[in-house]
Amino acid sequence: LNTESSSPLVTAPVVPRSELAPTLRRWFVAALKLLVGLTLTQFFLGSFLVVGWTQRVMRRATLEAWWRRSGHVRTGGTFAEFCQAEGSMREFGQWPNWFLGPVALTVGWRRLFGSLLANWKLGLLSAFNTAVFTLPAGLLWTFAWYAGWQNSFHKGYEHHLVGPLTFGFGVVLFVLGMFYVPLAQARQASTGDWRAFYQFGLVAKLIRRSWLASAGLAVLTAGLMFPVIFFKTLPFVFGYGDWAASKTPAELLTASSQYFFLTALWGFPAYVILRRVAARVYAHAVLMCVQRGSVGEDELSDQEWAALHQLDLIAPRSRRTWHWSVKLLAWLGTRTGQLAAGGAIALIWLVLTVQIFLGEFLKYTEGGRGWWNQPLIQLPWLDYTPTHLQQAVKVSRDR
């Protein structure tokens, strides 16, 4: 099955009857890709593939954002056509595949599993880099939760501050990390190089050029995360009713699996949307910096430089702008503005921390997973079915 498609996941263009068949095909392929994505979010290893696939989506979104700012868009062509015309960008003309390699390859294992391998490699590298900045905070929260309960149980009056202090330190680390991670992820995706994640100077420059957008991204993350945490927590309500008491372990396991699969209908698109928005923020920040000379051409990756050249976006632009939004951006460039924006962003990430805390308080997840993995930030692993339920089914089958 060739699932290459130039359609986005869910757009529904109105087409003449003669084009109905290709449109239906595109919808079918989009639905199939969605189904694969939903399914992969149910598994730990599958979530790495989702991360890798989304990295490719981000790269495409960055290019598309630049294309929209270029003169090409006024010629009436589509982004897909532009990519098709530029050999080096051909693969970005359509949404990436989950398994099959580029259509240009007609045979061989790269044709069969090219995307699978790419997704896997990119997923591992991106997840690792994200973990470097976010996992320490999550592990501190996990430990703080453990230490707090240990202290309560053992009445360790002498160590009563260990839990709260560790948690507080974790919050600070998380907030600091989240200033950096979204655009660093986008940087890695855009360059295709895992080391680009650690170009601290460049990424910091981009963040300073996009305070407002970063704040918006933080709000979007907190907003999209709320349902994810809510869905994670909600099953504890179902488990107390007569309904649950009347079911066998196998029925409960099925119900739980189906429930979490359905929650992926929110979680998976939310993950992709967040990454696409981050990619656009990155694209605009890079463009602004390059055109104003604060980022040199030599700081761009070869692919980025080539794309910007082909789109004729490298040339410096005038700084003469008078719109209020530009004035606001200018103010955000001042020290006061940066402090205010930074404070606002920190506050938003703090709100997200409160969500995480409440979710985990109401429904503690196995191994403290709710502390160390936030599905829209790290691995989009969305099935929280308790292991004891799976074990109960196994025991009942063995009997």
Partner: protein
């Protein structure tokens, strides 16, 4: 008829009659209260068995305790004590609507013999500050401690409740609000909070504290006294408890870090009170396994294990004491069970009215009690009060469930 000409006019007649009726109606009540008029007959001395009631709490399911001998976390209870007494594996807290399965409620079910939907005392008392999730319950019917002290000449320090340091709301069960019983027949509570209250009063009186320490202790004391809204601030617990706490202080010192902690503290208090206070009726309200709520399952199972060990120590202490050895009955029952939520990684809450939260058990063993009897029938948690009443020779007349008859068979 001209009422003014009568030597006993109508108004005087009615007033006299009313006063007489009130006096007649009130006489038995005054007698029952024993108002110290010299007319009250002295209460008889108590010669019955001592009873140690152990609240196997806070909140224990059958699954981890009694359901499977191969996987129990209280092997001493299940494998050594159950064969020594009458065991009720199917005791329940009734599935009444709005009845909360929790620690305070379960404790009051055990000691009053009546199911009640309790509310925080601040809902009825204008003088009490409202606290979030507060559970300061006041029973309207007497507790077994009050019945005992109302029926026999048992001093309050021999009717003892031992409470955990994290359960300040459960320190108000010393007496009910019942007009025939109440504070005159109160029991006494031993707890770390009671000790600190006593200690801070003494330390402030001794005048050895620095100004900062004095300020901090006074603040803490004021908080404790405000929480203990049913006792007058500064009220002494009595000579016996003064002496008890003095001994405790001499042994463990002032800093609060030397004494045992958690449920081990409860065991230590119970063991020491057996030696020093010689209680006739004692309740030990274990609690540590409740730390499972949103935490770790191992705290729950460890809590059960600690209780099991505490019971072993108590039984050993009783058996080593000639006065208690053949004259003490143990009654063991959880305050409540725990939920079993299949969708939770730690499925052990107890507030959600599920069946396992209502399912508990009880064990009664001691001299005169049948050995090795397992009663496979539904029984109610509130039967414990009536059963203890029958064991000790008083009638808890407001208890609403029958005695556990097999105990006396």
């Amino acid at each position: 008829m001209n009422s003014e000409s009568s030597p006993l006019d109508r108004r005087t007649f009615l007033r006299t009659t009313a006063l007489g009726a009130v006096a007649l109606a009130g006489a038995p009540r005054m007698l029952a209260r024993g108002l110290g008029t010299g007319l009250t007959p002295p209460l008889p001395e108590y010669h019955g068995p001592n009873v140690i009631l152990i609240r196997f709490g806070g909140g224990v399911r059958r699954r981890e305790s009694i359901a499977d001998p191969a996987n129990t976390w209280c092997p001493y209870l299940l494998k050594e004590l159950v064969p020594r007494g009458v065991f009720y594996p199917r005791m329940e807290i009734d599935q009444l609507r709005d009845l909360n399965t929790s620690h305070g409620e379960g404790t009051l079910n055990l000691i009053t013999g009546k199911y009640v939907k309790y509310e925080d005392a601040a809902k009825h008392r204008a003088d009490l500050e409202k606290h979030l999730l507060a559970a300061r319950f006041e029973s309207a019917v007497p507790t077994i401690f009050e019945y005992l002290r109302g029926a026999f000449n048992v001093p309050d320090h021999q009717a003892i409740m031992i409470n955990g340091e994290d359960r300040p709301d459960e320190e108000y069960y010393d007496f009910s609000n019942h007009h025939l019983f109440g504070v005159r027949f109160r029991s006494q509570t031993l707890s770390l909070r009671k000790y600190k209250t006593w200690l801070y009063r003494n330390q402030l009186g001794e005048g050895k504290l620095t100004a900062d320490e004095r300020k901090a202790k006074a603040k803490e004391l004021a908080k404790f006294e405000a929480n203990d809204f049913r006792t007058k601030p500064g009220e002494s617990p009595g000579a016996a408890l003064e002496s008890f706490w003095q001994d405790w202080r001499e042994h463990y010192g002032d800093n609060g870090f030397v004494n045992p902690r958690g449920d081990q503290l409860l065991t230590a208090l119970a063991l020491r009170s057996l030696k020093e206070l010689r209680p006739k009726l004692m309740m030990v309200s274990y609690q540590d396994c409740d730390y499972v709520h949103w935490g770790y399952l191992s705290h729950y199972t460890n809590g059960i294990r600690l209780m099991d060990e505490g019971i072993r120590q108590l039984v050993a202490a009783v058996e080593a004491d000639p006065e208690y050895r053949d004259n003490t009955v143990f009654v063991i029952a959880p305050d409540c069970g725990r939920d079993d939520n299949p969708f939770m990684a730690v499925p052990c809450q107890h507030h959600f009215n599920t069946r396992p939260a209502h399912e508990i058990f009880a064990l009664v063993f001691g001299p005169g009690i049948a050995r090795g009897q397992i009663v496979d029938k539904l029984t109610q948690q509130i039967s414990v009060a009536a059963t203890i009443g029958k064991l000790m020779g008083f009638t808890p007349k407001f208890a609403e469930a029958p005695v556990l008859g097999e105990v006396f068979a």
